[in-house]
C-alpha cells in the first residue's frame, strides 16, 4: 500500500519539520531504550518494581486462564473416559511415571539417611511449604525462561525460595510482587542447580540450556559414570534447595557429563508448592560481604 498523502512532505515546511521531529523523537526513544537496556543488563533487578506491579495488575486474568486450562483438561478427560478407556490408561501411565520418580527420590532419601546416621545423630525437622499456587504463565517468546506464579509477598513468598511440583523441582523465585512472583525456570540459561545421582553420590551441576533440556556437568572429572536413564535429585549444596527433590533424567552422554530431560515440565504443571529456603544461614553466608559476623 502506498503511504497516505500526508506522509509526502513535498515543499511544505510544516510537513518537513513534522517528519523530521518524528525521526528525532524515535531516535531519542531508541537511545533511552539503549541506556535502560545497559542499566538492566548490569543490574537485572533494577526495574523489578514496575515489572512486578504490572504483573500484579494482570495476575487475576492469568489466574482465571490457568483455572480454565486445568478444568478444560479435566473436561476433556471425562469425555474421553466415556468414549474409550484411553484417558484412564493415560492417567495410570502418569501414575506409574510419578511412582518411578518417587521411587528414585525414596532411594535418594534412604541413601542419605544411611549416610547421615553413619555420620551423626541428626534429627530432621518437618518441612512445611510456604504457599501453594498456580503457574499462571511464562515468557513464551523470549529466550529467557521465566514463569509467573499466582502467589506473592502476601502469601509469604520471598526471592530465592524453591518452587516444585508433584514431579520435581520447577525453579526458584526471582522477583516478588504483592500477589504474584516471577520464577526462574530450571531451563533458563542462568539457572544452575547442584544435583547428585539418586542412587549414589555422583555430584554434578544441572545447568539450563533454554531449549527445554538441562546440561549436567560433573564436578569430579574423569571416567563419565553417568548412564542414560539415571535420575538426578537436588544435593542440598548451597543451601537453597533441600536435598532429594527430583530434577532431571540423563538422556544423552557427553564428555563432561550428560544432557538431561527435565522431570517436571512447567507446561504440564497446574499447582506448584513454594518451599522455604532450606538453609537460609548458608545462603546468607554466601551472599554477605566477607568479614561480617555470621548469625
Amino acid at each position: 500500500m502506498a503511504p497516505p498523502n500526508a506522509k509526502r512532505s513535498g515543499f511544505s515546511r510544516r510537513a518537513q519539520y513534522s517528519i523530521f521531529t518524528g525521526y528525532v523523537l524515535a531516535g531519542i526513544g531508541a537511545l533511552i531504550g539503549g541506556v535502560l537496556l545497559i542499566v538492566s543488563l548490569r543490574d537485572p533487578h533494577f526495574f523489578s518494581g514496575p515489572r512486578m506491579d504490572a504483573m500484579d495488575a494482570v495476575a487475576p486474568v492469568g489466574k482465571a486462564g490457568a483455572v480454565v486450562r486445568t478444568e478444560s483438561k479435566g473436561l476433556l478427560g471425562t469425555v474421553q473416559g466415556y468414549l474409550s478407556a484411553g484417558s484412564r490408561n493415560a492417567r495410570l501411565r502418569e501414575e506409574v511415571e510419578l511412582a518411578r520418580i518417587r521411587l528414585a527420590e525414596a532411594d535418594a532419601v534412604r541413601n542419605e539417611n544411611q549416610r547421615l546416621k553413619a555420620l551423626l545423630k541428626l534429627t530432621e525437622e518437618e518441612i512445611k511449604p510456604v504457599a501453594m499456587a498456580r503457574l499462571i504463565g511464562g515468557t513464551s517468546s523470549s529466550t529467557r525462561r521465566f514463569a509467573f506464579l499466582s502467589a506473592g509477598k502476601k502469601d509469604g513468598v520471598a526471592p530465592g525460595m524453591p518452587v516444585r511440583s508433584a514431579r520435581g523441582l520447577v525453579g526458584r523465585v526471582l522477583e516478588v510482587g504483592d500477589s504474584s512472583a516471577r520464577v526462574l525456570l530450571l531451563t533458563d540459561s542462568e539457572s544452575m542447580v547442584p544435583v547428585r545421582r539418586a542412587r549414589d553420590n555422583v555430584i554434578a551441576f544441572a545447568e539450563g540450556r533454554a531449549d527445554g533440556s538441562l546440561r549436567l556437568r560433573l564436578v569430579n572429572l574423569g571416567i563419565n559414570p553417568i548412564r542414560a536413564g539415571d535420575i538426578f535429585v537436588t544435593s542440598g549444596a548451597g543451601g537453597l534447595y533441600r536435598p532429594g527433590i527430583a530434577v532431571a533424567m540423563a538422556t544423552r552422554l557427553n564428555k563432561d557429563g550428560a544432557i538431561a530431560r527435565l522431570l517436571s515440565d512447567p507446561a504440564a504443571t497446574d499447582f506448584v508448592v513454594v518451599d522455604a529456603i532450606w538453609k537460609s544461614v548458608a545462603v546468607k553466608a554466601v551472599t554477605a560481604p566477607p568479614g561480617t559476623p555470621l548469625p
Binding site: M1, A26, L37, S40, R51, V58, G137, S189, E190, G212
Partner: protein
C-alpha cells in the same frame, strides 16, 4: 482535507447514516490496544519449555505499520516497547530500543519503495523479524551457546504467521472504523 477519521475511499463505499458515526476512541486506540494485548501473551496459560511462540506484540506492531501506514507515529515504539518490556522477560529497555529501531527501519523502507505489494511487505517483515529475534536473544542477558538451535523454529514460525497477523489487522481495521450510535 485528509481527515484520518474519514478517508475518501471509505466515504464512497460506506456512506454515513443518520445517528451513526465513527468513534474517535476506537479509530485512534485500536492499534495501540491490540498491540498491547499482543504484548500480554506471556500471561496466557502456556508455559513452553522452549521459546517457540512468535513475539506477538512485535508482529502486531509490524503489521499495523505495514498494513495501515500513517496510523502509528514514528515514536510509537517507545511507549509500546516499554509496555512489552514489563511482561516479555527480556531485560528492561530491550523492546524500547528494538521497536523504535524497527519503526525507523520501516520508515526508511517506505521512503525507498513507496509502492509495495503484500509480498514486499512480507519480505520487509521477515527481515525485521529475523533481526529482532536474534537481537533479542543477544540482549536477553542469558548465555548464547544454544541460542541458534532454539531460535530457528521461532523465526520460521514468526515469519509464517505474518500473513495471518496481517489478515487479523485488516479485520481490526474494519472494526476500528465501525459506525456506532451517536446519541442514546
Amino acid at each position: 482535507m485528509n481527515d484520518p477519521l474519514r478517508p475518501p475511499m471509505r466515504q464512497a463505499n460506506y456512506r454515513g447514516q443518520i445517528n451513526r458515526a465513527h468513534s474517535p476512541v476506537l479509530a485512534g486506540g485500536t492499534p495501540w490496544a491490540t498491540i498491547m494485548l499482543g504484548s500480554l501473551a506471556p500471561v496466557l496459560p502456556v508455559i513452553p519449555a522452549v521459546p517457540v511462540l512468535p513475539p506477538l506484540g512485535f508482529l502486531l506492531l509490524l503489521g499495523w505499520r505495514l498494513v495501515r501506514p500513517g496510523l502509528l507515529p514514528l515514536w510509537a515504539g517507545v511507549p509500546l516497547g516499554l509496555f512489552d518490556d514489563l511482561f516479555s522477560g527480556q531485560p528492561f529497555g530491550s523492546a524500547i530500543l528494538l521497536w523504535s529501531l524497527a519503526l525507523i527501519a520501516v520508515e526508511l523502507v517506505e521512503a525507498r519503495f513507496p509502492w509495495r505489494g503484500f509480498l514486499h511487505d512480507w519480505q520487509a517483515a521477515a527481515a525485521l523479524i529475523i533481526l529482532y529475534i536474534v537481537a533479542s536473544a543477544v540482549f536477553s542477558g542469558g548465555k548464547l551457546s544454544v541460542a541458534p538451535l532454539v531460535l530457528g523454529p521461532q523465526i520460521l514460525l514468526s515469519i509464517l504467521s505474518y500473513p495471518i497477523v496481517a489478515q487479523m489487522i485488516a479485520l481490526f481495521d474494519r472494526m476500528r472504523l465501525a459506525r456506532i450510535r451517536k446519541i442514546g
